[in-house]
Chain length 121, copies 4
DNA sequence: GTGGTCTAGACCACC
DNA sequence: GTGGTCTAGACCACA
């Protein structure tokens, strides 16, 4: 995994784990990698993974069973989708539209780019 | 000017100045406020403004004439638009489309939100 | 290290570090002294060292791993040599030849001085 | 005239004037441009030209006749050549040889570049 | 007046 | 521990 410079690594780890869940690669109630496993896989400090897990735990996305590891909650997916949709609509979209205006990119152009981009995948 | 907490002030100053140029409030070759003027206007330390100006100077958006202050270059606008369009298309759009996919927001929905948003302004 | 008065200290630090790399005292991927370590060793302010490191980072000569310090990139040597050769040939040599002409020093004389100088070392 | 960024303008003006003398474009005892003439020609502040002239006066390269302007001294050429040769040999050459060593440019290469360069002019 | 450098020190986020 | 940001203030060279 490649970490971007602009965001703290622990946030990127949390985001990545959320995506794994959204994509169905981790099911509700399923165990996620242990701190040490994930840390060594990602080549980061376990304390960094811990911080991500702590955060997700507070959001009720994962939960810790002592001695057994961390597990996705059964409401994980709804929590993630809810939080993200809200952030997307309230924060990201306004910025997006502002940028488009400044750069004189109209919505038609955006749709065009979307379709090209989608077909590439 | 109100500074957000999430980004360094010097970056916000740089962004703000770029927008002033994009919006035509500062013309090419025109002098921008001196370090001290801007610093006292924004109530920040001159060194913080300097850091913003340094950055913009390296991007060829402003240039320093010794003892006389900083001036917008005559290619300022193209530089800014160029840099931003590229960043938008290469970095922000892919993220946007990725998020849309994860959240099951299709392009039609986005267009709808765009039109609502535009009519509000 | 003795700093000359004529150049900013941060540039001298940057130059010095580049030479350490060119001379093989710092290998690619190797960690360089932390801001604070180098600052206290050189008896300067950490902010001054930071400025040098910032500059080298933009030139892709060193890179920052968060919380762990700065490391020479694996292309550090090529970058330095490349930048310096170009500057030497494009800027310094023309000045040199120009000066020689004005002072009526011919190339033979220069070669003589070179050989004396080399044998001294 | 194009001023470099790295040196104070007044020094560049002084250097330029010295070169005019070395090249014989200004003869000993001949009048040089007045402060205002030169300032407007170079598009700089007369105070900047004054600073250059002051410096040259202290070096006995030009002299001021009140009410009549500045004149090259009759020893101007020797002064300039003397100062420059010394600086060239004591300061510039050692730096040059040091750079060549670091960049692995040998004296033969330099001679080659010299000959190419000379034939171009 | 302008910008540029440097210091000392505080405070923060991150690993 | 690491780097990053910001402040306050001093001092300098330059125009």
């Amino acid at each position: 995994m490649n970490f971007s410079e602009e965001k703290p690594i622990y946030l990127q780890i949390a985001d990545w784990l959320c995506e794994q869940i959204l994509l169905g690669r981790i099911k509700p109630e399923e165990r996620v990698l242990s701190l040490r496993e994930l840390a060594s896989k990602l080549e980061v400090n376990p304390a960094t993974v811990l911080r991500a897990y702590d955060m997700l735990q507070e959001m009720n996305i994962i939960t810790c069973k002592r001695g057994m590891g961390y597990f996705a909650t059964n409401e994980a997916m709804e929590r993630i989708t809810g939080l993200r949709r809200q952030r997307f609509i309230d924060e990201e979209l306004p910025k997006l539209f502002h940028t488009m205006k400044l750069l004189h990119i109209d919505i038609g152009t955006l749709v065009g780019l979307y379709q090209n981009n989608s077909s590439e995948l």
